[in-house]
């Protein structure tokens, strides 16, 4: 089987001409993936300082993590805020995406600009600004404050996902339903939503992850009993390296890999 001499592209390039590209791509992909997964073996190390590969294996950092009030409390805060953000950002972002998609009004354009500001304004500015305003409204160190800020960050992402799926969907179906007597809400819920549901699920998972992984705003506006996991992790990374982080990181990598695979699976179902 002489695969190497077969044409590899639409021009006359063969696979053997392309070997350099395959090698380069392989190296780049390894560089992308290794740092994502290196934390897994590290977390099972027995050493106090970081070493790779570990000489002795143990579960001590997991014990440390699950046994620590500080880390457990932070994990529960992060999960709570992530879930609440998901529950708020997904419907609000979907509604906004729908409104802007359907309406051609001048005001829709202005609303669009408002709704994408969280993507344009540097996050550090949002963080210190929210810290300042929350200081005046008593929202610092509160769950509500975190959820509001993370919802603002997640909404544009939800909108991107939903807008993309609305574009590949024929909105006239809704018109048909409405001409048959359904109001817009019923038409959306019974005709449109079932057809874009996979994108809604994707958007929901994305907004959970946006909140769960968010660092900068959390550093500023969370604290006390409501400090997030990322806030403690950041402090631990900047000041001293606590190997417990490897265990926590492994759990976080597991969660994001799981969510990504779900989304990929949804995507492949959507296509078929």
């Amino acid at each position: 089987m002489n695969w190497l001499s077969k044409p590899a592209s639409d021009t006359q390039i063969t696979h053997s001409n392309r070997l350099w590209l395959y090698l380069l791509a392989a190296v780049i992909m390894l560089l992308l993936v290794i740092p994502t997964f290196i934390v897994v073996p590290m977390s099972f190390s027995d050493a106090q300082y970081l070493e790779f590969p570990p000489e002795k294996w143990s579960l001590r950092w997991y014990q440390e993590y699950f046994g620590s009030v500080k880390w457990m409390r932070a994990t529960s805060t992060s999960l709570k805020v992530g879930l609440l953000t998901m529950l708020v950002a997904t419907p609000l972002g979907t509604m906004a995406a729908y409104a802007l998609f359907v309406s051609g009004h001048r005001i829709a354009r202005a609303l669009f600009v408002v709704l994408i500001t969280p993507m344009i304004v540097p996050v550090i500015l949002i963080a210190i600004g929210a810290f300042y305003v929350y200081g005046r409204t008593g929202l610092n160190n509160s769950i509500i404050g975190l959820v509001l800020a993370h919802t603002a960050m997640a909404t544009p992402l939800v909108m991107i996902v939903i807008t993309a799926s609305l574009r590949s969907y024929d909105l006239n179906q809704e018109l048909v339903a409405r001409s048959l007597g359904a109001n817009r809400f019923t038409a959306f819920m019974s005709i449109t939503l079932p057809q874009i549901k996979f994108s809604v699920i994707t958007a929901a998972l994305l907004s959970f992850l946006t909140s769960f992984d968010e660092v900068i705003i959390s550093i500023f506006v969370s604290g006390g009993v409501n400090a997030t996991l990322t806030k403690h992790m950041f402090a631990a990374l900047r000041d001293y390296i606590d190997p417990t982080i490897a265990a926590i990181s492994t759990i976080m990598v597991f969660i994001s890999t799981l969510l990504l695979l779900i989304v990929q699976w949804i995507g492949s179902r959507q296509k078929s």
């Binding site: 740092p35 790779f52 829709a108 709704l115 210190i128 305003v133 919802t151 574009r167």
Partner: protein, 298 residues
């Protein structure tokens, strides 16, 4: 006759009114999200803008902005920020283009599999990845040991808590932001164009540079812009991997707040950062339609 005409007019008016009401009720769906963003983003940023013009004595002043021009230290912070952002974007371009090209040429099944190499880091917490680099790059880390083993250098090289470490970490975090739009642009290219070029006798390298590469420009520009703008305001990775030696605008803002609690000075830096970001996006948006790359509008 007149009665009928009147009725038509009333009907038309009623229809217009109903249409308007309809329009507004649709638009109002975007209001809750817009309100939250207004409260968390617009109001605070507006407030910081105001604070940046307030001096220590509570009077209106331009002193914070004047200091930025007069003091060398501020100047250096901006230079560092731009240097790091430009270098990171260039590294991402150099690595991202071949990777996106490789992925775009694969049959769909394989592309989906190898795409995971881009998506997995993209979905993984940047804190986790920054931590991983901290470990990989340290004096006795995997990278140093590997390089010594294969004879690249003899004694451990300092790879972290400096510019090198910051650039490596930031490029790793930003690469997916470049590869994804670029890949989408490459996928949209009509394959017949390359067939035609080959048929007309173009050598593969000419076909690539004259046909393929120009068509990937929209994705290339959109991706690089996203990377560049995200780099301008980046905080976590420079703070951890830079180890205090790479002072970017964002890290400077936090240290001013932590050490001096000077809201005016911190705000003015933030305002300049915002203005720089908007300027880059505005100019780019004029030249290339960035919005259409993200939302498919326009």
């Amino acid at each position: 006759m007149t009665v009928v005409a009147d009725n038509t007019a009333t009907n038309a008016n009623a229809l217009i009114r109903q249409r308007r009401r309809e329009e507004w009720s649709v638009l109002s769906l975007a209001i809750p999200a817009a309100l939250i963003i207004a409260f968390v983003v617009l109001l605070p940023v507006g407030w910081l803008f105001y604070l940046s013009f307030i001096g220590d004595d509570g009077q209106g002043t331009l002193e914070h902005y004047r200091k930025m021009i007069e003091y060398k230290s501020y100047y250096r912070v901006f230079i560092t920020t731009f240097k790091v952002s430009i270098l990171t974007t260039l590294i991402c371009l150099a690595l991202g283009y071949p990777l996106a090209y490789f992925l775009a040429q694969l049959p769909p099944r394989w592309a989906g599999f190898f795409m995971l190499a881009v998506l997995l880091p993209f979905w993984t917490s940047l804190l986790v990845r920054t931590y991983a680099w901290l470990v990989l790059l340290q004096r006795k880390g995997l990278l140093n040991e590997f390089a010594i083993d294969i004879g690249l250098w003899e004694t451990p090289v300092k790879l972290v808590h400096n510019l090198t470490g910051t650039l490596i970490g930031m490029a790793h975090i930003m690469l997916p932001f470049l590869v994804l739009p670029l890949y989408n642009a490459m996928k949209k290219i009509d394959r017949d164009l390359m067939h035609a070029a080959a048929n007309l006798g173009a050598r593969p390298i000419n076909a690539f540079w004259q046909i393929y590469f120009p068509l990937t420009m929209p994705g290339l520009v959109a991706g690089s812009l996203i990377v560049f703008v995200l780099c301008l305001g980046f905080y976590v990775t420079p703070a951890v991997l830079g180890g205090g030696r790479v002072v970017m605008v964002s890290t400077q803002i936090t240290s001013i707040l932590e050490n001096q609690f000077n809201w005016g000075a911190a705000s003015s830096l933030g305002v300049v950062l915002l203005v720089a970001t908007i300027a880059v996006l505005f100019i780019a948006g004029r030249v290339f339609k960035l919005e259409s790359a993200l939302f498919g509008k326009g």
